[in-house]
Structures are given as C-alpha cells and as structure tokens.
C-alpha cells in the first residue's frame, strides 16, 4: 500500500530570539526563538541535507521522483529539483519537479507524488519542502515570525510508517501573505481580516467537508496536525471543532522554530510522530489559498521511526546569534561588497562528479585516492585510471588556517585540510563554527553542501566541513 515510508526534518544551527529582534526596534517583549539559516544556506542546500537523510537507511529500490517545494527557491527560472538530483547523484531517468510558490505547495507536491506512486508511474518519490530567507522587511510587525528549515518525506509502495486513508483539497483564493516576483519581503495587509475570513473560514469549511466525505468526527483522531499562520487563529479553530488542546492538538512550534512556510506542515507532522502509536489516526493539513487535508494512519513502523528519529537532536543542536546585525548579515539584508568571482559553466559540467557530487577517484593501477578532477595519477603517473568511488562524509582535520581577509558575513573563514574516513583528502571552508578557537588538528568533521558564492548571479554550491554534531 502506498504511504509515507520515511520523514525527516532539518533545522539550521542558528537561532535568533524574538526579543533580540524587538529590542532592535525598541519594542518590548518577544517570545521564544526562530531558526535562522546560516549565510551559506538556502532552501536547496537544506533540502539536499534533509533528502539525503531520508535515503540513508533505505533499501536499494531506486528513487525515480523528486518533488521540491518552496516559496524561496534559489532560482526563479531553472529547475531547482534537477540541481538537487544532480548533486544527490540520483538516477538520470527520474521525474524532477518544482511545485512551489505557496504555503500549500508542499502538500500539493505530496499529492502529485502520491498520485504518481499509486498509479505505478513512479516507484519511490521524494517530496522535499524547504524554506530559507522568507523574510519580512526589517522593522515590520511580522519580522520575528518566520524561521528557516526543511523537511522531506519519501513516498513508496512498501513499508510505510503512515498510510493515507483519505484526503481532500480545498481551493479558496484569499490574499493573506504574498510576494510579487520582484519582492524581497513578504507582503500583507490587514491582520484581523485574513485571520477571520481567511484561516478560520476556509479551514472550517474544508475540515467540515473532509469529515462529511469520510464520515468521521473529531474524536476519531489521536493527533490533529494543522498548520496555522498564528497561535490565536490555530487555537480558535481547534476549539471550534472541540479538539482537546492537551491530548490531540499538535503544537504549532512557533516559539521554538518560528513558522517555516511550506515546510511547516511537514515539520509539525514529524514532530507529532515522536509521540504517535501504531494505529493512531492523524488529521493533517496545510493552509494557503485553501487547504490540503489528509487522514493518516500510523503503522507498526512508526516505532522504528521513533528509535532512529533525529528530530529532537536537530531541535536541540543550536546556537543563539549574538547580535541583530549579524542576523541581518546572515540573511544578506545588509549591502555586501560586490565581487566578480570567476566561474565557468562548462567547467562545472566537466567536474561535477568530483566537485558537485563529492565522488572520489581511485587509481586502478596503484590505489591512490583523489578528490580532484585529475586525469593523471600523481602517485603512479598513469593516465585515465581513476574510477569513481563513494567517499565518506566524515573525517578529521589534518591542518587548518583561519582567513580574516576573505569576504564573509562572519570572519574568519576557517579552511581545513580534512582526511576522510574512506581515504582521500579534502580541502574546504568550514561552516557552522562561529567560535574559531574550537578548531583543532584532529577535530572530527562532516562534509555538507553549502553555497560558496553567486558568480554570474548563479548560486555556486560546493562542499564545506562542519564540526561533527554542530
């Protein structure tokens, strides 16, 4: 039976407190904190990280669909999911689709992938929902509302941890939040009107229809996992249907991570699964110009899921940003020095195995391992003997430096020579390390994909190391 066979979340390391944002504008109070993507992260890097974690412990059935949803794609024109698939080294015979630009697009992408897998046209599909840099104008009233993060789920024919028992899509146009093509910041108008005539009205109508269609009622559900633009509207809706706030209703998590756009319903679902028992029914839904609603049922596999889940560690591995200025700088709101970085699109195509995919080369003649796009082996000096090998993403620092004059929103830029566990040596920038004094020879690190620069206005992704567990 087609269902959700895997789900994972990704939260960036950094957090800002709402109080810090408010203090910057002489406003009192502020509750909790928001996730903040580092300056080298975007929805694509986060999406890759979380999608890879879905693939890790899986059987070797091939993925043949990748659906990527976001309102903050790095590129407006160009298939972002194709870049993801290339970097993840997914098979070339594969459906890649960007289904985005609405807070409801994540669940929309899920519905498309579900139809494809159910019909048999796809066997195993990944749905990635990721947001980074969905911002309000600095000083705006909602500036402290939004966070960055990603979630991915895998839809497969066997071994689901959640089965679909029903779904309903409801479309109802309403201007709650929006951005024009040229807008950097999220726009909105009235606060109360969209709460009352948007969220409350639409969700009531949609849930009523779902209940009627599948002949169910509020007490049938162990968990109610419904996204909402704000806590007050959420609570109002839950009360309207008589869901028990303590036992049934999944917390919005706005005070621990913020609202993470199209990824948010997925993240809430992953959070709910931490407490879900086999056979539990879940009412799950998104909101945005209508709603997508799902009736899910947990299987025995949810127990295994809970054992392996990284949700809590993701949530707890964090570092508070020390200043509001740094936050603006991470989010690239402050004007940056202009750089004319050299690049070559033909070069990137030629070198994409070694550089974009981090696939090593082992010399068939002498066994020497390289991470560079070399033709001639430096050890035995034979030509064209390198065969592709999988490299470990974990290693240890052999030596390093810290560059204070390389342009960065958070100098110094640490560069480390890393010996990978699989053999092979890599040299790259370090990320997720705001305290240069912790870097030492021998320190364990992991390789992660990050954005290096935007030569020719094109995001350039390459590998960085980060301290293990950070």
């Amino acid at each position: 039976m087609t269902g959700i066979t895997s789900i994972n979340v990704y939260f960036p390391r950094y957090r800002i407190s709402e109080r810090m944002i408010n203090e910057a504008w002489n406003r009192p109070g502020g509750r909790g904190e928001r996730t903040v993507g580092y300056f080298d992260e975007d929805s694509l890097t986060m999406g890759i990280e979380v999608a890879n974690s879905c693939l890790n412990d899986q059987d070797n059935e091939k993925v043949d669909g990748l659906f990527f949803s976001s309102t903050t794609y790095p590129l407006k024109e160009k298939l972002n999911s194709a870049t993801m698939a290339m970097i993840m080294d997914l098979p070339a015979e594969m459906r890649t689709q960007d289904i985005g630009n609405s807070l409801r697009s994540g669940t929309g992408a899920l519905l498309s992938s579900l139809d494809s897998v159910r019909s048999g046209s796809l066997k195993r599909a990944l749905v990635v929902a990721s947001e980074c840099g969905r911002l309000e104008r600095p000083g705006g009233m909602n500036e402290g509302l939004w966070g960055d993060g990603a979630s991915a789920m895998e839809i497969g024919q066997n071994g689901a941890l959640l089965n679909f028992q029903g779904f309903l899509s409801y479309s109802d146009e309403l201007s709650h939040y929006w951005r024009r093509s040229e807008d950097r910041y999220v726009q909105s108008d009235d606060i109360r009107f969209p709460q009352v005539m948007g969220y409350s009205r639409i969700m009531k109508l949609a849930i009523d229809r779902l209940f009627k269609k599948f002949n169910c009622q509020p007490k049938d559900f162990a968990k109610v996992v419904i996204d909402a633009p704000d806590g007050r509207s959420h609570k109002g809706l839950m009360k309207h249907f008589g869901f028990d706030l303590k036992t049934q209703v999944q917390d919005l998590m706005h005070s621990s991570i913020g609202s993470i756009g199209t990824a948010h319903p997925f993240i809430m679902l992953a959070s709910a699964l931490e407490e879900t028992k086999p056979k539990d029914k879940i009412l799950w839904g998104s909101y945005g110009e209508g709603s997508d609603l799902f009736i899910l049922e947990a299987t025995e596999k949810v127990v295994d899921y809970q054992k392996k889940s990284r949700f809590k560690s993701m949530l707890n591995q964090k570092e508070m940003i020390s200043t509001y200025t740094k936050y603006l700088s991470f989010k690239r709101v402050l004007e940056e020095e202009v750089h004319d970085y050299y690049t070559s699109i033909p070069g990137m195509l030629r070198e994409r195995d070694r550089l974009s995919r981090l696939i090593g080369g082992r010399c068939k003649a002498c066994g020497y391992i390289t991470t560079l796009p070399l033709k001639v082996c430096p050890e035995c000096r034979k030509k064209d003997q390198f065969e592709n090998i999988k490299l470990s993403r974990n290693g240890k620092i052999f030596t390093f430096t810290q560059e204070w004059y390389y342009p960065s929103p958070e100098p110094p830029t640490t560069l480390a020579v890393v010996d990978l566990e699989s053999g092979g040596r890599f040299y790259s920038q370090m990320t997720n390390c705001s305290d240069p004094s912790i870097v030492k020879i021998g320190m364990p690190v992991e390789m992660v994909l990050r954005k290096y620069h935007e030569a020719i206005n094109l995001p350039h992704y390459y590998w960085k190391c980060k301290p293990s567990g950070m």
Binding site: Y342, G347, E403, Y452, Y462
Partner: protein, 396 residues
C-alpha cells in the same frame, strides 16, 4: 642528464628600483630604471643585449602589464631580439635568471638580460593580489584562501608536530625588520618591537599582519655573460655557482593529496640538494656566508631553515631563537630585510635577491655589508610548496 653551471656564467651588472609604493613610477618606468642601472654597471647599452627574459608573476595584478616580452621591449628599448615573459609564481624571478643562464650556456647568445617587475600598487592591495585569490582562480577549489592561507596550513601543522610557537614566527619578523633599517631600497626601514609584532592582528591564523610581507612595487635586473667574457664588461663580476628550479607539486594538489605532510617544502629540499651538489657545498651552514630566502610570511622562513639544511627538521625554532640567522649569527639570513621589509613585487623579488647577493659578494653593500662574503644563496618558493628556485652566487 644533468648539466653544470658552476663558474661558467657571470653576473656583470645588476640594478634595482626602490622596493616601495612607487606611486610615481609606472610598470615601464621601473623596468627602465632597473635595466639601465644594470646596463651601466655592465658597460652595455640596450642594443648589446641579445636575448632577454621578463619575469612578471601576475599581469592582472600588475596594471595588465607583463603579459608578454613586448612589455620589456617597449620599456627598455630592446627591439628585434628574442624576449619571453616567464611566470612561475614567486619563483618567476629565479626562473628568468635560469633561462638567461641556459641561453648563455647553450651558446645561443653572448649577452643576456633577466628582468623582474611587478606593479601592484596602481590599485589598493585588496584589488590586486588579494583579488587574484579571492575572485580569480577556480570557482570552488581553494575558495576562501588568500596567499597567507596557502602557507598558514603549513605553519599550523609545523606547530602541532614540532612545538613551534607563533612567537618564533614573530622573532623572524623582528629580525628581518631590524635588518631592513640598513637597506636604502627597502619599503620599511623601521625596527618593530617584538611586543608589537606579537599583538598585530591575524591575517590567516597563525600568521599575523607583521609576519606578512606588504604589497609593493619594484623591479630588478641582471646582465649576464659567460665567465670567460666577464672581465671585458665589468672587472667586479660575480660567478654563478649553481641554479636549480624544481616544480614539486600542483596548485591545488597538495591540499587534496593524502601524501602531503604540510611540515616541509619538498621542492625546496630537492632543489637545495641538487644546488649544493652543483656548487660543491657539503655543509651549507658553514660554507654559505649569507642567504636571501623567501620570508613572504615568517613561518616560511622558519621552515626553510630546515629544508635548506641550515638546521635539522623541526629545529627551525631554535635556529631563530638562538639568533643564528641574525646579522651577527652563523648564517645571516635576509640581511636586506627580506620580503617583510622590502615588500614582495612577486616577479621582481628573485632578481632583487640576486642584486643583494651581488652587492655583498662585491663588497659594495654599504652599511649592511656581510663581512668577507664569498658565497651567497638566493631562494624563492612559489605556490603551495610547489615551485622552488635556488641560485648560488660566489665571489671571484
């Protein structure tokens, strides 16, 4: 096949501009200045030069001059002869000198010129050398490094392995700046207290700003002939005892090569071994009277003490600590003030070292003269431990 240069080639004239922020001189002005000084000492004119080599490491950083031999032709009036531009990172000057030696040794030419020049200060430092590393180069590989970082990873490893301290690097800088006071051609002629060097801000850990050479303009030149012809050009000539050039690695390779130990410069070790053999040197510490070596960043000089065989591996820290490389020490190193005082116009530095050795071997180095200097060594290292040029000159 090996060849022998020993005592076959003579330097009959050298010239050097001031190494400084030469805002009043263009690339071509500096070329003319250095070449005509060398011409004068060698009693030749531009028309007597039969072949020439022009060393500029980064034409993009040098006001887009130095892309070819044409920029030497125009600047020094050398028309209708073979001229080539050579580029070999910081070893470019040594490479031009080598090509000039080989041009004579082959018998193809009788009077040749090696010139080095770099014009970096027509733009702010961030827009010349730093820009080449930050903006230029491969879109990913080594992205994030500046020139200091290239050497800094060696320094970090050396510290870990041999217990060398940042303080030892600061001592190198202190010595070199003290030496620079006596050199009228140096950019910085000021002794800097050790305490200030220690406290100067980091450029690329563990290298701080006063352990780094500045961004500088300069040009230097040498006229060479075969030894048997030398007397008719200049009675006060000096002899080439050895010249070696080794490219030991690639630009990206060392950082990604599991074999690289990052505690020594293999190209320098090999070049030194071969150069000592050619010059017949058995104990460099005892036999060499002065050395001009590549202190682009202080840790490099310290590691070079070891790789050039002045001391054992890992004992560079004692060599500086005990003052053995000071003016009064066993083997005075960088009595010119080194790259740290003179600056480092990349393509010119190798020939500036030839200039320095020549003046000492002639006994004409003024206040900074090393007494009874008979044998001098010049060494440059360019790229990540990749390219080493070593020239050994001797008095007649």
């Amino acid at each position: 096949m090996s060849f022998d240069l020993k005592d076959k080639i003579a330097v009959v004239g050298v010239g050097s501009t001031k190494f400084s922020e030469n805002f009043e001189l263009s690339y071509s002005d500096m070329v003319a200045e250095a070449c005509f000084q060398a011409f004068e000492e060698a009693s030749v004119g531009p028309k007597d030069i039969e072949a020439a080599w022009l060393s500029t490491a980064f034409s993009d950083g040098s006001a887009y001059k130095g892309r070819s031999g044409m920029d030497l032709a125009e600047a020094a009036g050398l028309f209708d002869i073979p001229i080539a531009r050579v580029s070999n990172y910081c070893a470019a000057g040594g490479t031009a000198f080598r090509e000039a030696c080989l041009g004579l040794l082959s018998g193809a030419h009788d009077v040749v010129l090696a010139t080095g020049v770099e014009k970096l200060r027509d733009r702010p430092p961030q827009k010349s050398l730093v820009k080449i590393k930050v903006d230029g180069q491969h879109p990913f590989l080594q992205k994030g490094t500046t020139a200091a970082g290239v050497f800094a990873v060696f320094a970090t490893r050396h510290m870990e392995k041999y217990g060398t301290k940042i303080d030892h690097f600061c001592m190198v800088s202190h010595k070199n700046h003290k030496n620079g006071v006596l050199n009228p051609l140096a950019q910085y002629r000021q002794e800097i207290p050790l305490e200030i060097i220690r406290k100067s801000p980091m450029v690329a850990y563990p290298i701080n700003v006063l352990c780094s050479c500045p961004t500088t303009d300069g040009a230097a030149a040498a006229v060479l002939v075969r030894a048997e012809d030398a007397k008719s050009f200049n009675k006060d000539y000096v002899l080439v005892k050895a010249q070696e050039l080794i490219v030991g690695n690639g630009d990206d390779l060392p950082f990604f090569d599991p074999r690289c130990e990052f505690d020594h410069f293999s190209s320098t070790q090999l070049a030194a071994q071969k150069a000592y053999e050619m010059a017949g040197i058995k104990d460099p510490l005892k036999e060499i009277d002065l050395a001009e070596i590549h202190d682009c960043f202080s840790p490099v000089e310290l590691i070079l003490y070891e790789d050039l065989g002045f001391c054992k591996k890992g004992e560079g820290k004692y060599f500086i600590e005990e003052g053995r490389s000071s003016r009064e020490g066993d083997l005075p190193v960088n009595v010119s003030g080194g790259l740290e005082s003179c600056g480092h116009p990349i393509g010119a530095t190798g020939l500036r070292m030839i200039y320095e050795l020549t003046r000492h071997l002639q006994g004409k180095a003024g206040e900074r003269q090393v007494k009874n200097a008979k044998l001098g060594l010049a060494q440059n290292i360019g790229g990540p431990c990749a390219i080493t040029a070593i020239t050994i000159l001797g008095a007649q």
